[in-house]
């Protein structure tokens, strides 16, 4: 094979490797920002690389790229066909309005299509830089380092899993470094290409890389020293709690016997749920309040649940016609199934039915699976709608005595003032529902704060609820929900404490189904109260969370009453309204979600920026010789040597050569040094220049022909700085 052909094929292989490395850049960004059309973006990279590889003239390449970007923007963001007045008009308007926004400095309001176009430009530049590194510098080391840092940062700070990506990038990259280095040697020394020589260098290096990779796989690996650096860094920076306080990591904890203490966030994704609406995910209930926390009555009665069959539980279920499916993807080794309200049946993915056994604890209604790997399940459910008439009923509690005792349990030590307060709150309310609503909305109206930091653990002889209600008046979901259950029980309404996850973050939307990401940060607790006629109804006393129940106003209520109700609901910040208003509320929520996504995205950009600056700084220091050399040689190239500048220019020349690695030894004369340099470069220029300089400084000569030196000088600088 001729070297030229080989060269082309080799370059093409490099470009393929580069494509895979660039893919590792693109995928996490796409995943974290929830942008679709990954393949179209990747195809753009392919186009750019292809154009670089075949050195297509720039006007053609620009045309192709710009056409592609335009097509993508119109195709994705407008319904108009590409070559149509509407399509072009759309693009034109987008550009005009966004440039106007940028001109006003309102970067936040630039539209998605425009941001996408910018993103394309960014990829374009990235490919160009890689192309430059590859074909001109023949060194992609910095690119590799940046890639590894990028993936490392994302792996550390986000839920993106870069384990495979890092290994892939490092191995591919190292191999590429080797081949590029050989190529550089061939070019530098003008050596002729011979297979046996090539393999002599390449094979051991590849073998070495392969061995290093294998060793890395088989070596034992230490567990991470930091479970998750973000909270660690935050607490180290003093944002977290003091070290003597109890610090809980938020997340689903089985043991709730001692509540209280601050907690730190945990961004780990637990589930990905695809549903039609944002809703609460129940895990289990607890019934015994110990004045410090919650335990469940220790009855380990379990019932098998057959996949696809009706699940029996204590909660009401909506009508069959409104049956929906939620698709849950487990991402964390939890052994339980999360349930939406109105659970009907659980379907497992095909092939998993035999592997997974589902059982429900009859007491806590926790559904456990004897499987901890990542898997998917599909929940059939119908959200119950409570009839207003049922809720307002003033019937006697229909629960049997045993259950009543269970759900009205209160510790002996409960301070009297808690019961007094509860009775005070419900004074004048007739139905249990109204009483419960009064307690639910009590916190929002009486100066309670939502706070995750500095929440104390009750002392030996202190009650958790009493402390919260009368002393601290701040806390998180556990405080609010526990306090509400205790107060409900104090006024004779059967109630239980529910644990699970709040709705999660909207990350994607595909047709009817929205995709929510539920992280450990979304672990939550709330209240269920038994209302006669209606059954168990969820309540949400925690400030900042909205109630997860839908009510059908089936009876005539006078306007003031309804107003009051809506006003009540409005006191909760993140509100979900009923009926037709739900649509707009949902939109608002999504806007919020996309806004949060934007901030998340900005945060990654910041991480990236900071690590980029740090890396750039380190590189600048480490490679100061290179850039100083560049700077010197550029300066020298443009110098006009004459009587007045000769000395300064010659000094710079020495400095440049020193950076290049040719340092004049102490006691070495200029002539000897020049000879040494000339011998290395195989040219006479340094000696010629030096001779003139010697004439200038030692000979005190004035009539030096600087014009004659000019050519010599240019040759010298060009050859030495290349």
């Amino acid at each position: 094979m001729k070297y030229e052909t080989f060269n082309k094929i080799e370059l093409a292989l490099y470009y393929i490797v580069i494509f895979f490395i660039l893919r590792e850049w693109l995928l996490p960004v796409m995943m974290l920002t929830g942008v679709g059309y990954v393949n179209l973006f990747l195809f753009f990279i392919v186009i750019c690389l292809f154009i670089s590889l075949f050195r297509i003239p720039f006007y053609l390449s620009w045309l192709v790229k710009i056409l592609y970007i335009s097509w993508f923007t119109i195709h994705v963001y407008s319904d108009a066909p590409f070559i149509s007045p509407e399509g072009i008009g759309f693009l034109w308007r987008e550009l005009l309005s966004n440039f106007a926004l940028i001109a006003h400095g309102e970067f936040f309001y630039t539209t998605n299509p425009f941001q996408t176009m910018l993103f394309f430009l960014l990829m374009w530049m990235l490919v160009y830089i890689v192309h430059y590194w590859l074909t001109i510098r023949m060194n992609i080391f910095y690119f590799l380092v940046l890639t590894v840092i990028f993936i490392g940062v994302l792996d550390t700070f986000t839920e993106y899993d870069g384990t495979v990506a890092i290994v892939e990038v490092v191995l591919l990259g190292l191999a590429m470094l080797v081949f590029l280095y050989i190529k550089k040697l061939i070019v530098q020394y003008g050596a002729s290409f011979r297979w046996q020589h090539y393999l002599k260098i390449a094979l051991p290096a590849i073998l070495l890389i392969g061995m290093a990779g294998l060793m890395a796989i088989f070596l034992p690996k230490a567990d991470p020293q930091w479970p998750d650096p973000v909270p660690y860094i935050k607490s180290a920076a003093g944002q977290g709690s003091l070290f003597w306080e109890k610090v809980n990591k938020v997340g689903y904890d089985e043991d709730d016997s001692v509540l209280g203490g601050s907690f730190v966030g945990d961004d780990t994704t637990v589930f990905i749920a695809q549903t039609t609406k944002k809703q609460y995910w129940r895990v289990e209930t607890k019934d015994i309040y110990t004045s410090k926390g919650w335990v469940s009555s220790d009855a380990n009665v379990t019932a098998e649940i057959a996949p696809g069959q009706t699940v029996y539980h204590s909660l009401p279920v909506g009508p069959d016609e409104q049956k929906e499916f939620a698709h849950i993807e487990l991402r964390y080794p939890y052994d339980f199934i999360i349930q939406p309200y109105g659970l009907m049946a659980i379907h497992l993915s095909e092939g998993m039915e035999n592997k997974i056994n589902l059982t429900m604890n009859v007491e806590t209604e926790k559904i456990s699976a004897n499987y901890t790997g990542n898997y998917m399940y599909h929940i059939e459910y119908s959200t119950p709608e409570y009839l207003y008439s049922d809720l307002m009923s003033t019937m006697e509690q229909p629960l049997d005595a045993g259950l009543r005792r269970k759900y009205l349990q209160l510790p002996e030590s409960l301070p009297r003032r808690v019961i007094d307060l509860a009775e005070e709150i419900v004074k004048g309310k007739e139905s249990d529902y109204e009483k419960a609503r009064a307690i639910e909305s009590y916190f929002g109206k009486n100066g309670f704060r939502y706070e995750t930091k500095g929440v104390p653990v009750p002392e030996e002889n202190q009650d958790y609820v009493d402390q919260f209600l009368f002393e601290t008046k701040f806390g998180y979901c556990d405080n609010f929900s526990t306090a509400m259950v205790v107060m409900l029980r104090a006024v004779g309404i059967p109630a239980r404490w529910v644990k699970g996850f709040a709705g999660g973050d909207l990350i994607d939307r595909e047709g009817e189904l929205d995709t929510y990401k539920i992280t450990n940060n979304h672990a939550h607790s709330w209240v269920e109260a038994y209302i006669p006629e209606a059954g168990w109804v969820p309540f949400e006393p925690t400030i900042g969370f909205s109630a997860n129940r839908s009510i059908q106003f089936d009876i005539e209520t006078d306007e003031s009453q309804e107003d009051m109700l809506i006003a009540d609901e409005n006191t909760e910040p993140e509100n979900k309204k009923n009926g037709t208003k739900e649509e707009t509320a949902r939109e608002n929520n999504e806007k919020l979600a996309s806004f949060q996504n934007l901030f998340k995205y900005l945060r990654y950009v910041l991480y990236l920026l900071f690590s980029g600056i740090a890396v750039a700084g380190i590189l600048l220091v480490v490679f100061r010789k290179r850039w100083m050399l560049k700077w010197y040689s550029r300066w020298l190239k443009n110098q006009n040597i004459n009587e007045t500048t000769f000395e300064a220019v010659y000094m710079r020349l020495l400095k440049m050569l020193e950076l290049k690695g040719f340092k004049r030894k102490k006691g070495q004369t200029l002539g000897a040094f020049a000879k040494e340099v000339d011998e290395i470069f195989h040219f006479p220029y340094m000696s010629q220049i030096t001779e003139a300089y010697e004439n200038y400084i030692y000979g005190n000569k004035t009539g030096i022909d600087y014009e004659k030196l000019k050519e010599c000088w240019e040759n010298l600088i060009n050859r030495t700085s290349s």
Binding site: L654, K666, T669, L670, N695, Y696, Y698
Partner: protein, 314 residues
């Protein structure tokens, strides 16, 4: 290289094989108006070198073989009473000549040695109250055998100062020695040597050497080296200002030889070991440690600061 000087060296090389450096250095000393001490074992061509040099420049060559019983008058000359003129007449000794080979100078008594050294310094002979100038150019090449000490009077180091430089000949290489044999096979090559420059041309050259420009930066460099010898930890006696002058003169001559009209630090560096070598006395401790004068000078040169900018008076 200067055309005339090249011719002289080329001429010498016809007779002396592989000793170009020695020839050059001798010529440097001759042009600088100094004298040379050749230190080497007998039979390596010291005499041949001097004779070739003398013949090349059409100078009068004299040879004095120093022996323990040689008297100053045997060197300088003596006044003899002439009964015819009733006057003392001065009969000049062998010192009166252009190029003198003072062979085995360390074999004679200090009295005779100092008579010679005085002539070298003054370029004149004073006898019986009369000062007789010596012909110009006047160039003494003294030799001494470094291995024999018995029955010798080693020159005191202070006296050595009078020589511009001390040179070692060294043995020829194998191929050079074969070439020597080949040339000596049939005839003595020196007999066929023709002069290439006249005495007057030589004197002109000497004049030109004195006009070679020495920049203040280079003077500074010479002084820097001399001072470094005085401050070196292993040195008992450093280079005197006379040595500093000698190095400058020699550098001028060497620059002229390169057909250059200014002195470079390269010239200074090259000549420093030859000019300074015999002017430095090491401390006994250093000598016991095996340090040589050459080592000391090499270190000093390697550690010196070369002037690379225009000289600015500070």
């Amino acid at each position: 290289m200067h055309r005339k000087i090249e011719r002289i060296i080329g001429n010498i090389e016809k007779v002396i094989i592989g000793k170009r450096e020695v020839a050059e250095l001798s010529l440097v000393a001759l042009l600088a108006g100094g004298h040379v001490l050749l230190e080497d074992v007998p039979g390596v061509g010291k005499t041949m070198m001097v004779r070739a040099l003398a013949k090349s420049v059409s100078a009068e060559f004299k040879r004095i073989q120093f022996t323990p019983d040689l008297l100053p008058s045997d060197v300088l000359g003596v006044s003899i009473y002439n009964p015819k003129t009733l006057q003392f007449e001065f009969r000049p000794g062998p010192i009166v000549g252009n190029i003198i080979l003072a062979d085995e100078i360390n074999r004679t008594s200090p009295k005779t040695q100092s008579a010679l050294l005085e002539c070298m310094e003054e370029s004149s002979v004073s006898i019986d109250g009369e000062v007789i100038p010596l012909p110009m150019p006047f160039f003494v090449m003294a030799t001494q055998n470094p291995i024999e000490y018995e029955g010798t009077f080693p020159l005191p180091e202070a006296q050595l100062d009078r020589f511009l430089m001390k040179i070692r000949m060294g043995y020829p290489t194998e191929s050079e020695e074969i070439e020597i044999l080949r040339r000596a096979e049939k005839s003595v090559p020196i007999d066929h040597l023709e002069p290439v420059v006249t005495i007057n041309e030589l004197l002109e050259l000497q004049e030109e050497v004195r006009n070679v420009y020495v920049d203040d930066s280079v003077k500074g460099y010479i002084v820097q080296l001399a001072r470094a010898t005085r401050e070196d930890a292993g040195v008992y006696l450093g280079v005197s200002p006379r040595g500093t002058i000698a190095l400058m003169r020699a550098s001028q001559a060497y620059a002229k030889m390169q057909d250059r009209d200014f002195v470079k630090p390269d010239d200074v560096q090259y000549l420093a070991p030859f000019v300074f070598g015999h002017r430095i006395i090491l401390k006994p401790e250093a000598r016991y440690e095996g340090v040589t004068v050459d080592d000391v000078l090499d270190n000093i040169i390697a550690g010196s600061v070369i002037p690379i900018r225009r000289f600015v008076e500070r």
